[in-house]
Assembly symmetry: C2
Homo-oligomer: 567 residues x 2
Amino acid sequence: MASTSWQDRCARRKQAQVDSIPKDWLITLPSEDKGNVLDVPITCGLLTPREIEITETVDVIAILSKLKSGDWSSVETTRAFYKRAIIAHQLTNCLTEIFVERALDRAKEVDDYLKIHGKPIGPLHGLPISLKDQFTMKGLETIMGYVSWIGQHAEKDSVLVEILYELGAVPFVRTNVPQTLMWGETYNHVFGRTTNPYNRRLTPGGSSGGEGALLALKGSPLGVGTDIGGSVRIPSTFCSLYTLRPSYERLPYCGAVNSLEGQESISSVLGPMAQTINAVKLFTKAIIDAKPWRKDPMAIHKAWSEEEYALSEHGKGGKMCFAIMWDNGVVKPHPPLWRAMRMVKRALEAAGHKVIDWVPYKQLEIYKTAEMIFAADGGHDYRAVCEQSGEPLLRSMSLPSDNHGRPIDHPLFRSLLGEPKHYTAYELWRLHKEKRDLRKDQLDYWEATVSQTGTGRPVDAIISPALAYTAVPHGLNTDSFYCTFCNAMDYACSAFPVTYVDPIVDLQHPSHEFYNHEDEAIYKMYDPAVFAGAPVGLQLIGRPLEEEAVIAMTQVVDHALKMMKSY
Amino acid sequence: MASTSWQDRCARRKQAQVDSIPKDWLITLPSEDKGNVLDVPITCGLLTPREIEITETVDVIAILSKLKSGDWSSVETTRAFYKRAIIAHQLTNCLTEIFVERALDRAKEVDDYLKIHGKPIGPLHGLPISLKDQFTMKGLETIMGYVSWIGQHAEKDSVLVEILYELGAVPFVRTNVPQTLMWGETYNHVFGRTTNPYNRRLTPGGSSGGEGALLALKGSPLGVGTDIGGSVRIPSTFCSLYTLRPSYERLPYCGAVNSLEGQESISSVLGPMAQTINAVKLFTKAIIDAKPWRKDPMAIHKAWSEEEYALSEHGKGGKMCFAIMWDNGVVKPHPPLWRAMRMVKRALEAAGHKVIDWVPYKQLEIYKTAEMIFAADGGHDYRAVCEQSGEPLLRSMSLPSDNHGRPIDHPLFRSLLGEPKHYTAYELWRLHKEKRDLRKDQLDYWEATVSQTGTGRPVDAIISPALAYTAVPHGLNTDSFYCTFCNAMDYACSAFPVTYVDPIVDLQHPSHEFYNHEDEAIYKMYDPAVFAGAPVGLQLIGRPLEEEAVIAMTQVVDHALKMMKSY
């Protein structure tokens, strides 16, 4: 092995992936110039009408109903989604592990159970679920974008996978990630670059970018990603999906591989991604109802609360007060984000809620503190893993192959943070303390909004961009100011789609006094022609461990938007 | 200030403390040779019959009932406990901050509220509560045993104190701690040594040792300590009290001062200490019902669950299965602990429960990992604070003044751990990961007990010593193997009294093959004559965030013990 170059190892592994695709599932590829490929699954001719019917059913509750009644077998449902996933993969390079036989065997087991027992295994009976390339499955490799992890076959299932089996689900593909997981795009040396099916010249985001591309193409009814600085919210807003970033340890991460393992101050969390908010709710409730603390020692012992889902702490769903953070004072969002926020404001007001402005507070300090914690080992963790294979540590997601032979030289790559240093344990503890103090400041600040809401409560939730922009050309997504805010504060939050970039309407804003060079670079990056048609999503930010209420409030916003659009 | 020696600063501060005691509350001190001073509060003549009646009421629910009905005013109740606290202090040196007028003013405010509104302020209406010297109160010093913190007046109340005020309580004294808080005894250069009222030649334990001594003398109806490696359980078992060590962040620590701030992997927690388990329950429920997450950003948003308190996850209080850890395989407990465990076993069996043995698993690995995390800064945090004043960092709790002019040279002071080193952030993360892996191992191990319990559930709770011994002579409490297990695993747990050392019955065990030199030293330390009359307590260990069930199960054990003793 030592004599094999890392490039050769990647080439072999990629070939093995190609070989794992059933030959009769290969399609005639559209031209590489074709940006939007959302129509291809239907038009390419691979899917039967029944498979189209199944995979076009974006309502996961409807799919589960068919599966539990036996109207659709899990085998045919899994095969339908698998075929569509393989189409998606050929279009966007979104998959890592492909294991058709194993998934179909599992689906058959589920079907047999229903036949024998006359009842479903559990709430996710027969449902194919895609997983980010961190959730180990016994016997399968978990490469997570690292060359040195090629050939590492998991000895057991991650806790999430164990629970999914208990609940009757069919884990059926794993999806692509960036090297180190710490990028908001999706590229690694082993599996390459994932593209955005809305426009393949744009990134689907990351780090759960394989999920983003796959789910947007309806190659999976429900996926699971992870998020330490926006990694479920970025691909969701870039790919017109719903997601939840739960608070630390509400959902079971144990047994999943990760980078920066042992960094416990701002923990990565897992969250569902799907075409509907109802699917997000279904997954979250099902996993919590399975009492993940029986298997994951870090999982919070807190039962799913129907009361909190009924907004018991938010006026029981009556008049609520939302606050919109139009601009965090660090980087000003692009015009389509502003339009989306205006749409949400109008929709919520039309639904009888109050909407006020959220004045940003200590946003840059929070971001810097979080980033310093993530980089407290001076990159030692990443380097150690890369050195095992000799692959270079990536310094940007801007690849020569995408950019006329040279990486992009862009002001965005000059971070607001200085060079990373390797801190001592004591220095790290001081950073943790700074973060705690910032959490306290922000909590008091939020509580103080009670004087402005008219509801007798502080602001119920904040609405904000997840990123200052919609999906950007490959290599240009370098910031996560709006997202990391929630990770650092441990705010449970969702992302949801609102609209699409309309080059006619979303004209460049007049120039403003730039907050910093990144703000300037982001301002100058906007070009309606480049972004035309890209999905525009936002996030809804609640308090720590308020997953039930965050989901319910996202349903309120979603419903209000749909009501407004229907007029 | 810089020209004042640290010794002079201590002397002045100690004098200021003496001056803060009302002159007419000084008592004629018993001989220094008098070991057990529990009778002194009644016999010294300072307390009126009414004050004796009030302070002898160990049932906090009964006290609150009198306070809420107005039968007892908060002023007279607070004064009664204050006088008794001052007696306790003269006997054991248990207090730090003494602020009689301020507390009585607060009590009057509470009384006035009841008169004006005809209803109590809240569930803790009028109740005097003692606080470990970490819980800042606006305007008061919080010295926490550090010379350099003399003169640091708090700018605001800690969150716990804020909530206590909301609930109607009267914080009325603060209690002594060891320098750095990281000792299981109670000595610092500013306020000196706290002794055990059951036998002043013994330590009350620590680090919440001031609380232990005060509560044992009924100088407070309810106290609050903190625990990162046994610091509420050690003084509770050494002083015949009940306590709860909740899981991380279930109760609000925010705003309290601490050592090792920012060490977030094995967090210090706060817990109530009292003469009854009902008081522990009352406090815990009252604080959680106050929604501490409104004020403490780290506090877990999990409401008090009456269902879980009704043992919904433990057979609804029907037949349960407890496991006794007689010996953790690292240090063998002294004979009185074994007798106490046998008593609990008999009592639980008589009450219809099953009791099996807990076979220890990875106990030493867990202890070592936790201690390495605590010492990951190589002592930098402690040294930095000590250097500000010039006071020396204590290397043991064995003081020349207690030991014929020289510190004890004892094999216990040679730790099983090597010399501390200052880790890098990356190394610290590796330690965190080791700890997580150990938590997973221990969880799976516990879950696997389902095959032995006969209840269809894993073991409901573990009963074990909190320390391998009862209260020891000053300077000899160096280990916390049994306690730290729970902190590292984040097991919610309680401590409860069982009996007292009986030198006739509790004879030395035959020698065993020693596990290590500490085990040998602890074995040789046992002398029935030295320990005679010392309280013997145990801990009850539940799962993370199971505070409600742990309290309920402790009530089950307590009731079973009382039933057995009553025959």
